[in-house]
């Protein structure tokens, strides 16, 4: 089966390309001023002392030839001191690179997490949760490797090359030119390979992404594969991708391994050029033997970073792709939230005026006009897909209308401060979602500082004692991942309590699920009946028993309001309502 999702996701979360990502990451790195300064300084110290010891060695050799013992000891001590300095600078480099790397990752994770709390809710219907998690978790980890281990190598490599070249030219420009004569060859060779390395690399990356995607899908659909005894199919689908990945990696490796070998041969040529030219200069007494020794060491030093840098390409690309994927999350458009008018109380009504909502090219709500007055109980009914949940989201300010407006007490909902509004209106959502923790934690989530006694008295007031009786730990019982330790009824009750502790003016009950049994349903109805006495209730449901609570019923069909009225009025009219509930209405 085709893999079209990645392309689709890229269209929605646009990744930046190479250069822009690199610059942005550099900005993130230097954002930590102190750490990055220590980092750069320690890397430079490491390289400088590294570059100096061939010189110390050469001078020591000259001291031996000159039979000067004290000078020899001096250079030996300097030689060791250089390494000793390097120990400290390396230590600082390790610490600061860890700080920089982990700091960048923390920042990326934190900001993308913050952005996830601000994006429009549709975002989550377009981008898969699994992929989001993989971006924020795994992609940032691939950056860590690059920043902690490879970046210091890059910087020290580049500075080693520059400083070594500087010293060589200072000591003997002629010999330096001879040692560097192989450089252009190396450069041309690298450039020629670059293109193929890149193609190969992209292939390995594509194949591994396909493996991950396939594995994710297989795990998600495992029950279906088993149910239809299609395990072989899952296995075969995977096997092909696994093989592709293997051959992609081997092709890439053949190229990079050959590259490494060719570089060594070029290095050998560099060394003998120095020895040849050096011996001629030596013969002419232009240089000393010690200097020649130092030059030979420099040529070798030169090539190490180049070999290392060439092997960094994969890690570098990997982390750039990773970073661009995270930046894409950070860059997603947040929900425009400009409302600043604080609302302390709900006084008259919520009105929807000609509200239209579109998802891509389909219309979810079309010119819906509805008024819900304070103290009223209103039910919104309709077939699946009629727009009921969209209406909930609009009233909760989770979805902004594409046309028309919503007014609360005559103020436009867009101008109202979201935080204060959510204190007035609280949802009890379909598929009650619970956080891992205890029942108490879940209720406290909605209102910090609430005591167990207060919750207990609410439970009694709404007649829910028997629901939690079976739990040995009472309010401190753990709910398990996604609330799996609790029954559907218990989860529903926690969700209702979570709404009640806020003492809201309005409750929106969104479709008590179809799977719920009648005893749990009765609990909900009882609780809602009590709430109705003092607050405004909006019920989104297609269960007849819940609808009987409403003073007024609004019937939606294909995104439009088709009927409105009391239960008895609608029961006698012919229309969608009677079609839906003919069994119950009789």
């Amino acid at each position: 089966m085709s893999t079209g999702y990645d392309a689709l996701e890229d269209r929605y979360l646009k990744p930046q390309r190479g250069r822009a990502t690199m610059l942005r990451m550099a900005k993130d790195i230097f954002h930590q001023k102190k750490e990055s300064a220590i980092f750069v300084i320690s890397v430079v110290i490491t390289s400088v002392s590294g570059v100096l010891y061939p010189l110390a060695l050469g001078l020591a050799v000259n001291a031996v030839l000159e039979r000067n013992a004290s000078l020899l000891i001096l250079y030996a001590v300097i030689f060791f001191t250089l390494y000793f300095v390097q120990f400290f600078s390396n230590r600082w480099m390790t610490l600061s690179s860890t700080r920089v790397a982990q700091g960048v990752i923390k920042r990326m994770r934190d900001t993308s997490f913050q952005k996830l709390q601000k994006v429009p809710l549709d975002f989550y219907s377009k981008v898969r949760a699994g992929y989001l998690i993989s971006r924020i978790e795994n992609d940032s980890e691939s950056i860590s490797d690059f920043l902690t281990y490879q970046l210091p190598q890059v910087i020290s490599g580049v500075s080693t090359i520059i400083i070594a070249a500087g010293i060589m030219f200072y000591i003997d420009a002629r010999l330096a030119l001879f040692s560097l004569v192989v450089m252009p060859v190396l450069g041309i060779f690298t450039l020629l390979l670059q293109r193929r390395v890149r193609t190969n690399y992209l292939r390995t990356r594509r194949t591994i992404a396909a493996i991950t995607g396939n594995l994710a899908e297989t795990i998600a659909a495992i029950r279906t594969f088993k149910a239809f005894n299609a395990e072989d199919q899952a296995y075969t689908r995977f096997e092909r991708l696994n093989r592709d990945n293997f051959s992609a990696n081997m092709d890439a490796s053949r190229l990079s391994s050959s590259y490494g070998s060719v570089i060594r041969v070029i290095e050998a040529v560099g060394i003998i050029l120095v020895i040849y030219e050096g011996s001629v200069s030596l013969l002419d007494h232009l240089i000393s033997l010690g200097i020649l020794v130092a030059f030979i060491a420099y040529v070798q030093q030169f090539f190490n970073p180049i070999v290392q840098l060439s092997q960094l390409y994969n890690t570098y690309q990997n982390s750039m792709v990773g970073a661009s994927r995270i930046y894409a999350i950070i860059d997603s458009e947040p929900e425009r939230d400009v409302g600043s008018k604080v609302m302390d109380s709900f006084n008259s009504s919520i009105g929807m005026n000609d509200v239209t909502v579109r998802y891509d090219d389909s219309v979810a709500l079309e010119k819906v006009t509805v008024e819900i007055r304070k103290g009223e109980s209103v039910a919104v009914v309709g077939r699946t897909g009629a727009g009921k949940s969209t209406l909930t989201n609009v009233v909760l300010k989770l979805k902004y209308p594409d046309g028309g407006s919503v007014t609360v007490d005559a103020a436009d909902l867009m101008d109202i401060d979201t935080k204060s509004y959510r204190n007035l209106i609280v949802p009890v959502l379909q598929e009650p979602f619970l956080f891992n923790g205890s029942i108490f934690n879940n209720i406290e989530y909605s209102k910090s500082g609430i005591t167990r006694e207060e919750i207990q008295s609410l439970i009694e007031r709404y007649g829910m004692e028997h629901i939690f009786r079976s739990l040995p730990g009472g309010l401190d019982s753990p709910v398990g991942e996604m609330g799996r330790n609790l029954s559907e009824g218990q989860r529903q009750a926690v969700s209702i309590l979570r709404a009640f502790v806020r003492n809201p003016e309005i409750i929106i009950l969104d479709e008590a699920t179809a799977q719920i049994d009648s005893r749990s349903e009765r609990n909900i109805i009882n609780a809602m009946r009590k709430f109705r006495e003092r607050g405004t209730l909006i019920l989104i449901s297609h269960r007849f028993s819940l609808i009987t609570l409403a003073d007024r019923i609004i019937v939606l069909e294909k995104g439009k309001v088709v009927q409105q009225g009391t239960l008895s009025e609608l029961s006698t009219q012919s229309g969608v309502f009677r079609d839906l509930y003919k069994r119950s209405v009789g």
């Binding site: 949760a129 902690t148 060594r264």
Partner: protein
């Protein structure tokens, strides 16, 4: 007392050495996945030895060239140049084998390990998937396998060559000067000791890092899945703080590792440098006194220079190994044969027959879910199953497909105990539409077929029975319309209907609808049931539902209550559930 203390310290040091050797543990893990690769191993290791030896000869030749120049034998330069180029070329050639070969080994390892991983994943039984989160399984199959692959790669391309390089370096130093090799011999135990301490100190931190990483993922997942609740209750700031605290913890733990690396990893090259400086000082002094050639110290110092960077890489190998060992533990939980079922292939297709439960009992842990269940269902019957949430409805149907095994009692199909029927034959004759529908990324047609082969007419017919054909025909691409992994573009009711079509096209002996029409509106639901009854005349249809309207359609209704079964004749308009 002292004797005891001595013994204890001996045991301790042996334990410490054992801990250090555990660095190689991944080798043993990797072995079964590299069967038949012995020759390649030997080739890679041999190539490593040769390549390094050739490389280490270069300083020796440079040293000799310097000595020759020192005494004015310029004629020898050509010879040394040729030797140097040959040594480099030989080293380069064999180094290609080392790099390519170790990549080959590590990729073969990963390839086979992934294969094994997936073959075990599909064998795991249902209970296994009820205790595991899919995100965690995925990270085991990707990140953890990659961590072990990375270590295998570095083991062959760096760790082994480095170890040989140290040995060869020692030999060559001995040839240059026995004194130099003696100095170097002093450094080796120091290097090993530093490695041991570093590894021991890092291990507990790495374990913590893994755990924190897991919690980061869980928090993120919870936040994403629960977004509507988070926003509806205005919990954004709380979530940000919770996540921020975790990333802070993660930062701290990684920094702790950095502190250890900072000291020990850098002490290793410093040790080599100390020896190197001693060589310059001591060796140079001897040369100076004896008026011997300086070529020796040049060679020795260059050898040390060549050893420095592999030695500092040893420190990183410890990090890789720790990472890989943590990963191995997690992979082994999947590749071990525990919690697996065997779906033997083949087995004849089942003929039509009566499904019968005889005193079937099923319990999970301490709680009994079903007790003494007895009933019969004949081909062509439409049976409703109802009962309160958690009454055991889904468990009951899961016993028929043998997702769960009954603790006692027998289930027979066409007179044969289902335990005697191969899982493959059994499951091929049963179609189930579960509560939670998963659609694979692919077209609607592919999702209905789900690996089966059937004509387009049969696909259309199945879609008609499931009452989804009108909708599909209204799409521009019709049956070729792509749907997402979890059916993102389809509504809940549409997904359920695609899943019904998928079940119907197989023309099953038993069709199980587990609350399969909960998101379909009541009108359509009745249409679907009528279609099913008409099209699947020889099929036993078991329908789990709580809706009275749906249950009223059944020929008979089984009511589960406290794990026991009550049977009612169907067709009435009563609200079964309300009477519970």
């Amino acid at each position: 007392m002292t004797q005891e203390a001595g013994l204890e310290s001996r045991i301790n040091s042996r334990k410490k050495l054992g801990v250090f050797l555990k660095v190689f543990e991944p080798v043993f893990f990797a072995r079964p996945y590299l069967k038949g690769g012995t020759l390649i191993f030997i080739a890679v290791i041999a190539a490593g030895i040769i390549s390094n030896f050739a490389l280490l000869l270069v300083p020796v030749y440079i040293g000799e060239a310097v000595s020759a120049l020192e005494v004015g034998y310029y004629g020898d330069i050509t010879r040394y140049s040729l030797l140097i180029v040959s040594a480099y070329s030989i080293s380069a050639l064999f180094n290609f084998i080392v790099n390519y070969g170790s990549q080959y080994i590590s990729q073969t390892f990963a390839y086979n390990l992934r294969k094994d991983f997936v073959s075990h994943i599909v064998k795991k039984n249902f209970l296994f998937f009820e205790t595991q989160t899919s995100g965690d399984l995925l990270s085991r199959g990707t990140m953890d396998i990659e961590a072990t692959r990375n270590f295998t790669l570095n083991m062959f391309s760096s760790l082994f060559p480095t170890i040989f390089m140290i040995v060869e370096g020692f030999v060559l130093l001995f040839l240059v000067s026995p004194y130099f090799s003696l100095l170097f011999a002093l450094a080796v135990p120091v290097l090993i000791y530093l490695g041991m301490v570093s590894s021991r100190k890092q291990r507990p931190i790495w374990r913590r890092i893994r755990a924190t990483y897991g919690r980061l993922g869980e928090t993120l997942q919870e936040n994403i899945v629960g977004q509507r609740v988070v926003r509806g209750l205005g919990g954004e700031q709380k979530e940000i703080d919770k996540y921020g605290n975790l990333t802070e913890e993660y930062y701290g733990e990684n920094y702790d590792v950095g502190r250890i690396r900072g000291v020990y990893n850098n002490l290793m090259p410093l040790t080599v440098a100390a020896v190197s400086s001693a060589v310059i000082g001591f060796g140079g002094y001897v040369d100076l006194i004896n008026r011997t050639s300086v070529g020796g110290i040049v060679a020795a110092v260059t050898i040390f220079a060549m050893l420095t960077s592999p030695v500092s890489f040893l420190g990183r190998m410890i990090v890789f190994s720790e990472n890989s060992r943590a990963a191995i533990g997690r992979i082994e939980e999947i590749t071990s044969p525990e919690e697996e079922e065997y779906v033997e292939d083949g087995g004849e297709a089942l003929g039509p027959g009566v499904l019968s439960f005889d005193h079937v009992r099923f319990s999970r842990g301490v709680s009994t879910i079903l007790r003494e269940i007895t009933f019969k269902a004949s081909p062509g019957e439409f049976i409703g199953i109802t009962g309160r949430t958690g009454a055991g409805k889904t468990s009951l149907v899961n016993l028929i497909t043998r997702y769960y095994e009954a603790n006692s009692g027998t289930i027979t199909l066409g007179g044969r105990n289902i335990k005697d029927i191969s899982l493959s034959a059994l499951r091929r004759s049963i179609s189930i539409v579960p509560q939670e529908i998963t659609l694979l990324s692919g077209t609607i047609r592919e999702n209905i077929l789900f690996g089966m082969e059937a004509s387009d007419d049969r696909v259309r017919e199945a879609a008609r029975i499931a009452s989804i054909s009108d909708f599909v025909e209204s799409l521009p691409l019709k049956y070729e319309t792509p749907v997402g992994e979890r059916g993102i573009t389809l509504s809940g009711g549409q997904r359920q209907r695609v899943a019904i079509a998928r079940a119907v096209i197989r023309n099953p002996k038993i069709l199980i609808l587990d609350d399969a029409t909960s998101s379909v509106d009541p009108d359509t639901e009745i249409t679907i049931f009528n279609n099913l009854k008409e099209a699947l005349k020889g099929t036993i249809i078991l329908m789990i539902s709580l809706r009275a309207s749906a249950l009223s359609f059944a020929d008979k209704v089984l009511i589960l209550e406290e794990g026991e079964l009550r049977e009612e004749s169907g067709g009435g308009e009563e609200d079964y559930v309300d009477r519970l």
